[in-house]
Amino acid sequence: MSGRWLAGKVGAAVLTLVFVLVFNFFLFRAVGDPTSQLARLPGATDEQIEQLREDYGLDKPLLGQFADYVGDTVTLDLGISQTTREPVWDEIVAALPWTLLLVGTGTLLATLIGAWMGVKAATHRGTRTDDGLLGFSLFTYASPEYWIGIILILVFAVAWPIFPAGQQVTPGVEFASWFDEALDVVDHLILPMTAMTLMLLGQYFLIMRSSMVDVLTEDFITVKRATGLSRERVINRHAVPNALLPLVTLSAIQFGAVAGGAITIETVFSWPGLGELSFNAINDKDFPMLQGTFLVFSFGVIFANLLADVLYFYLDPRVQSR
């Protein structure tokens, strides 16, 4: 039974991916015909345009083009960037670790802090602690993450310059050891990571809080207390694990927002990841690159969703027997 549940999830993810491929193909085929870019250059001759069409395989019938496209994509050939002339995939591979670092640490921190705050607020419901945490997270929930990023720069890199506000390492520095370099990366990571964390924090907090409030009204909490467990232990051992379950599923919805945040936050902090790659592609109208980053973002989000499902599967015994 459980195997089928998992297979269903994987199947759905694959189907979504196929959708992405089809969409990507038609969108960029319909509007982003690379020859339309070249044709606007006054110097281009018909011959050159024809050559270009051939290079891009645009002279083939649509179905053939699609087959080519799928084949290329599956073999990780995402085309050549129009600006850097490097294979799009190579650029993405170089940028991906940085995005994963930013998104990973940001999400992790947001989950931990958000969950912790949610627990605090739920166990202090109606008090000033609760109001304060609620107000704070509603504010971060409503404010644009790149704005928070700029404010962070304004405060911690300009008014009180204690953190670098751009790049991932101090440029042009030869480090004595990998540890120094790691420390330097951490130094650069802090502000963008904080922005990412603050962006996600509100939602995680709200989810955790209401989930925790729900769990605390459950009978088993009373029973656990009645067995003589301390308040903290009931919260930590029984209430939190149960309240975390909805957090796992609901946070999957957040992955799309994470991808969006990666783009804006990386732009603000010139963080050399996928987001900045997309931002440059927007400005340079580098369609192969835009297409590639979109594909990778979509894949990442779909994969993360699947991961959340699997995680939920392992966390909640109730699902396993379904």
Binding site: P42, T123, P161, T170, G172, S270, P272
Partner: protein, 608 residues
């Protein structure tokens, strides 16, 4: 656990976290200083917002790439920033034949590439033919060349169709080492070829490290023929956005910013340890009129009154260019007089007709031409009204501002401009519109700009030739005399003689006004005075008011580091250290309070 043990553990944890915080703080702070740039004081750090997308000159198109190439490679004949004339480059000397159709270059036999291989005539021939023939940015310069001969390794003979002054005055094609580039098939050179590092070169510095979107490091070329450069390394550090670049300069992370926003130019100038420099460039911003003649553009869409010369001249008198410069660009630009920027000192002279601000004269001219004011205060004649669309690009706030100011100014003479703010793409589409294979521009007027070649004005002058209609021309101006003079000047090798011809061209355009050139664009630089002693006025020698960093390495070679300046990175890891301390302290604190509160916890909220 007994109470005694708990207390003991609490104390130990608290002490340990406190100690850790103390250790982490200075340790982290120290790490940053020990990790400061290698060879302090001997690195020139230049910051920019964007870096070149590629170092391959066959496909590269960025302005930034030129800056790197110019340090890495010589031209066949260089440009002397000091005298603004030709100077020895790859060629030690050159000779122009009697009929001026053949130029013979003589190379220094001892010259070597940075990898030790000799620089020969084969390199020059290959570069002119391949890079000059196929490089996106370089093809234009070699169009006049018919044949290149290399009788021996030290001699290159260049034959041209017609006399072409650009061979000596502006052959802007880098000479690449054929033994490296010649091995790569052309299709790859024009495709995704990325040159190997170090980038074998002939200039004072060669690229040894290129991390895209991060840093370009150039080191001294051991085989450089001149005085060794003042710096061991030149680094170009990319910051992703202008804001970060300027902040890096503030913090002393970099020594020099090549290009500063006009909005922050004044502010940076007031900064401690920062100095700014404003220099002229071969670029201008113009108000362009649609002059496309009926026979060339039967389907063009515009208000025909725009093709009335008197109207254009009146507009020119009514526009206060000083004021435009003062307000729209906050005085950072230069007021322009005609289509030849004053940057080209060798050829420039203030034209006779400069259209000084004189709205009364403008009104009088229009009155005399029979344009009468209607009820709306706009002049009209024979059913035509002096009401024009004025397109500006939203990406350029300063030109948007100029457009509005112009509209205000010309209201005084009964000429109406409807300012249309559009995207660059949109304006491009309006100007290069085609119908049935013929140009069909759909605009009355617009404001945009052009940038010329650093030491030869031919490109800027070519824009208004009839031949460029369907090419670069966006005013669609056509004047036989102008075209003839343009061809003539390209064949004149003598500067004074050529200057006279160019002057006549300028006067023609000042009379016909296809463009009313508004301002000449500046290059705004900022540098740290505690790192760089001075930026010597070498371009040209006496005044140093030109920007030629892109064309020549002399700009960098003329810089002098401040003695004993350390390239200390501002900020350091102080914040990180503090944060570590804070986190450790916090965790310690939580543990302590938690242990203490074990005894008295409150009942959990439970519902019935």
């Amino acid at each position: 656990m007994s109470k005694g043990i708990k207390v003991a553990v609490t104390v130990v944890v608290a002490l340990a976290s406190f100690a850790l915080a103390l250790v982490a703080l200075p340790a982290a702070a120290q790490d940053s200083t020990s990790a400061a740039p290698g060879g302090a004081g001997n690195v020139l750090r230049i910051g920019w917002a964007q870096d070149p997308n590629t170092l391959n000159p066959f496909v590269g198109q960025d302005e930034e790439a030129y800056t790197v190439w110019a340090l890495n490679w010589d031209l066949p004949i260089n440009f002397s920033p000091k005298t603004l004339g030709p100077a020895p480059g790859i060629a030690e000397s050159w000779e122009v034949s009697e009929d001026r159709k053949t130029v013979t270059l003589t190379l220094d036999p001892g010259m070597k590439w940075s990898d030790g291989k000799p620089i020969t005539s084969r390199d020059v021939k290959w570069s002119l033919e391949q890079l000059g023939g196929h490089g996106i940015l370089f093809a234009g310069y070699t169009s006049g060349i018919t044949r290149i001969e290399t009788p021996d390794p030290e001699t290159v003979v260049i034959h041209t169709k017609r006399p072409d002054a650009r061979i000596v005055g502006g052959l802007f094609v880098y000479v690449l080492p054929e033994h490296v580039w010649g091995k790569v098939p052309l299709s790859r050179l024009k495709g995704q070829y990325q040159p190997k590092l170090p980038l074998v070169g002939s200039g004072p510095y060669v690229v040894t490290e290129y991390e895209r979107r991060k840093i370009i490091t150039m080191e001294r070329n051991p085989n450089w023929r001149g005085e060794p450069g003042p710096y061991d390394q030149v680094q170009f550090i990319r910051y992703g956005n202008q804001d970060a670049v300027e902040r890096a300069l503030d913090l002393g992370e970099i020594d020099l910013v090549r290009e500063v926003e006009s909005s922050s130019f004044a502010r940076l100038g007031e900064q401690e340890d920062v100095s700014t420099r404003r220099s002229a460039t071969p670029a201008y911003t113009q108000l362009a009129f649609n002059l496309c003649p009926e026979r060339l553009c039967p389907d063009a869409e515009f208000n025909p009154a725009v093709q009335d010369r008197t109207v254009r001249q009146a507009i020119a008198y009514a526009v206060d260019r000083e004021k435009l410069n003062e307000i729209a660009t906050r005085g950072t630009s230069f007021v322009a007089n005609g289509i030849l920027p004053s940057y080209y000192k060798a050829f420039y002279e203030t034209p006779e007709q400069t259209y000084p601000f004189d709205p009364d004269l403008a009104n009088q001219m229009l009155d005399e031409a029979g344009w009468t004011l209607n009820d709306d205060g706009v002049r009209e004649k024979d059913g035509e009204t002096l009401s024009f669309d004025l397109y500006v690009r939203s990406e350029s706030p300063s030109t948007v501002q100029m457009a509005k100011l112009i509209a205000e100014m010309t209201r005084e003479i009964g000429v109406e401009f409807n300012v249309q703010v559009v995207s660059t793409d949109k304006l491009y589409d309006l100007t290069v519109r085609y119908q049935d294979g013929k140009p069909a521009p759909a605009f009355d007027t617009f404001i945009w700009g052009w940038g010329g070649d650093p030491y030869d004005p031919s490109f800027l002058l070519s824009i208004l030739t009839t031949g460029e209609i369907g090419g670069s021309s966006d005013a669609f101006y056509s004047n036989a005399e102008y075209d003839r003079l343009y061809r003539e000047q390209t064949g004149i090798f003598d500067t004074e003689e050529r200057k006279a011809v160019i002057q006549r061209m300028v006067e023609i355009t000042q009379r016909d006004l296809p463009y009313l050139v508004l301002t000449e664009d500046p290059q705004l630089q900022a540098y740290r005075t505690d790192e760089i002693e001075t930026i010597e006025p070498i371009c040209p020698e006496e005044t140093g008011d030109l920007f030629c960093d892109q064309v020549s390495y002399d700009g960098v070679l003329a810089l002098r580091p401040v003695a004993g300046a350390s390239s200390e990175t501002g900020g350091g890891n102080a914040g990180l250290a503090g944060l570590i301390g804070l986190v450790v302290g916090f965790i310690g604190g939580v543990i302590v309070t938690r242990m203490r509160s074990q005894g008295r916890d409150e009942p959990l909220e439970l519902s019935e």
